[in-house]
């Protein structure tokens, strides 16, 4: 028998409803247009919608057949509040021809109940879903239709009544599942939603007949699973920048490890070697039964042929990239860098850092004709006993780290102001002005020191600082 599985708004106005026999519906509305239900296509569309909803929240879970859960904890302020976010979400869905009802509540269960049985656009205040739920029918608990009907047959027509009656008899009569649904809706029990993960098709898995736990076995299966995934990457001329290895233990725990590459790669030996030092951090427990390896940030890389004159002109893949990867994975990414110019005349900002194989930025390179020190102190060090002939003259002597230096030659001043356009104009002060001098003492030591502030202000006399050494 053919039944209606969904009806449009117009059809609903004519009195048609879901579950009605198709022949009855055609008798009521002879001009009714019907189409075959396609549950698979609906599921695919829902999962596409889940991917789309990631623009609203990173945690989106599908609620088949026709719902979505969005965890908006901590993201609603980006829209200026929950109401504005709700309106935006609903408006965008409607603009795509998808009339959704929306509600916001503390728990997924309460939000589901309000959407399906309450009015549209309800926003339950934190902790305030109880009174809103009390007026809804038992079916709002996401229970099977028979259970809901049974509860109503007993005269419990409102959730408020169920909340008030003793729990134990209710649980015995209708099952723990019904009690759990009630607790989930009221927030007494947490509910785990299966949120969408960005899927990666680059995934390999090895399952073992016997669980493994010996370190050498773990190293071997790492190499095996890497070889399996890299063979696929190689066949399609792809390389990945990030690999995630996961050991699934017998007790259901998953122990993940991940490594990053500076250039997309697919050399199984290299990848296994990067994992090797960290395998010892994995506790195999009673044994590992499955190991998975997923590749992320996959991009197409051309298959490179080993050069005939490889001894003279090595490619990055052969030498430097593995070195940088080894160091980055061992020391951490912030400890391996290449200096890159940043267009700023404030010295401490001019030396930027980039990943070793990052493409060259657009900033102009440093001007090599302006003398700059080889060592720059992160915090300038105070300089005392500075004597200068006239206020703007370079110092003739100064004391730094307890040692008196007599200046033999000097250059300067080079005035460097603060970047006043970056902050509020009131914060700009003359004592942020720096006059840099390059001086050389009698022994030949070359220093870069500066005077912060201007003479003539009795409240803020200028101070001298050592900022770097030329050597």
């Amino acid at each position: 028998m053919r039944r209606l599985s969904a009806v449009s708004l117009e059809a609903a106005e004519l009195g048609l409803s879901v579950g009605q026999k198709a022949t009855d519906a055609l008798a009521l509305v002879p001009e009714l247009a019907t189409a075959e239900a396609e549950p698979e296509a609906d599921a695919a569309a829902l999962s596409a919608l889940v991917d789309w909803c990631v623009r609203f929240s990173p945690a989106v879970a599908p609620d088949p057949p026709d719902g979505l859960f969005l965890d908006i904890t901590g993201v609603d302020h980006l829209w200026g509040g929950e109401a504005a976010m709700l309106a935006d979400l609903q408006g965008r869905l409607a603009a795509n021809g998808l009339p959704f009802r929306c509600a916001i509540a503390d728990t997924p269960g309460a939000a589901w109940a309000l959407v399906h049985f309450g009015s549209d656009r309800i926003i339950a205040s934190p902790g305030g879903q109880g009174p809103l739920l009390a007026v809804l029918p038992p079916a709002a608990l996401r229970l099977p239709a028979e259970t809901a009907a049974q509860i109503e047959r007993l005269g419990l027509r409102r959730l408020g009544q169920i909340i008030d009656i003793p729990r134990a008899p209710f649980g015995r009569r209708f099952g723990q599942a019904a009690l759990a649904r009630l607790d989930q809706a009221l927030g007494r029990e947490r509910e785990a939603l299966v949120f969408r993960r960005p899927p990666t098709p680059w995934f390999a898995r090895l399952a073992f007949a016997e669980p493994i736990s010996a370190p050498e076995d773990m190293a071997r299966v790492t190499a095996d699973v890497a070889a399996r995934l890299c063979a696929r990457l190689d066949a399609e001329s792809h390389g990945a920048r990030r690999f995630e290895l996961c050991f699934h233990r017998l007790d259901g725990k998953a122990m993940p490890l991940s490594i990053g590459l500076s250039l997309p790669g697919r050399d199984p030996v290299r990848i296994a070697r990067l994992f090797a030092p960290r395998l010892e951090t994995i506790d195999p427990g009673f044994g590992v039964e499955v190991v998975t390896l997923a590749a992320h940030a996959v991009e197409a890389t051309s298959g490179r042929q080993a050069r005939l004159d490889s001894g003279r002109n090595p490619t990055l893949e052969e030498g430097l990239a593995p070195l940088v990867d080894r160091l980055t994975n061992r020391l951490g990414p912030e400890r391996v860098w290449r200096a890159a110019p940043v267009e700023s005349h404030v010295p401490e900002r001019a030396g930027g850092r980039v990943r070793p194989f990052a493409p060259a930025g657009e900033a102009r390179p440093w001007n090599p004709e302006i003398p700059r020190p080889t060592r720059l102190f992160r915090r300038p060090e105070p300089v005392e006993d500075v004597m200068a002939l006239t206020p703007d003259d370079p110092p003739t002597q100064f004391r730094w780290r307890g040692q008196l230096h007599r200046v033999r030659r000097a250059e300067g001043p080079e005035r460097i102001g603060e970047e006043w356009w970056k902050g509020p104009i009131e914060a700009v002060r003359t004592d942020h002005l720096r006059d840099y001098y390059r001086v050389e003492d009698a022994e030949g030591g070359r220093f870069w020191l500066y005077r912060a502030g201007l003479y003539g202000d009795p409240d803020a006399p200028p101070k001298w600082w050592m900022h770097g050494l030329f050597g």
Binding site: L316, L320, R372, T374, G445, F470
Partner: protein
Amino acid sequence: MSDFRAGRLAAMRAKIAAIEAGGRSDSESLPFGDDRIDGRLPGGGLPLGRWHEIVSSGLEVETAAAPAAFTALLATPLAARGEVVWVLRRDDLWAPGLAGLGFPPEKLICVCARDEAEALSVMEDALATLGVAAVIGEAEAVDLTAGRRLQLACEKRGATGFLIRRRPFGGLAKREAGGSAAATRWSVASAPSEPPAGEFGLGAPRFRARLERCRGGRTGAWLFEAPDAYDLEARDGTHPLRLVAELGDRQLAPALPLHANAA
């Protein structure tokens, strides 16, 4: 008879040289372009595929500014052959300063190690990597084993190592190791610059460098100038360190001024 003897001696010398070169007979060297120094170095220049020690005295043991500048200048010709890895303990190296000296910062990869042992092992790893022409490291002390390991890593690909002896956070000096596997040891200090007559300000940076140890060569002390520093027009492809004068060994001032000894 004497011919026979000379032949035997020459053969023995070659054998010893081969042992000293660690089995590599094709050891290259980088000439400074001045006979006064190249004549003293084995093979007529700074030996490549070996590692060199750069020490300093006084406050420079902690700040290591002059050794850094001097080493960068020594490594500048090598940067044309491959990458240069600088292993730091304290990240106060400033690339704009190196660019001013003529060292290409785009060839430099900086690594900041967490401790001494890590710095040495990163150096070793980098030296043995294809495509790395030179590795500059900063460490407090290198014992014989670590030095030998560095030497083996250098020989693997022919990369050249420079080890700046530095106590990055001050403190008491570690006890000096007795021997060293380094090919040369330089003691470096800044020297007063001499601008051309009639010009104000500072001249090109000058360094006093004393070659304290040199395997297969003779020691000496020299005054160097870096004429390429902060001057694009002076960069003509010759060695960035120009020899100004040869110094007597005794002339090189130690950390304390001379009159301090008399007092």
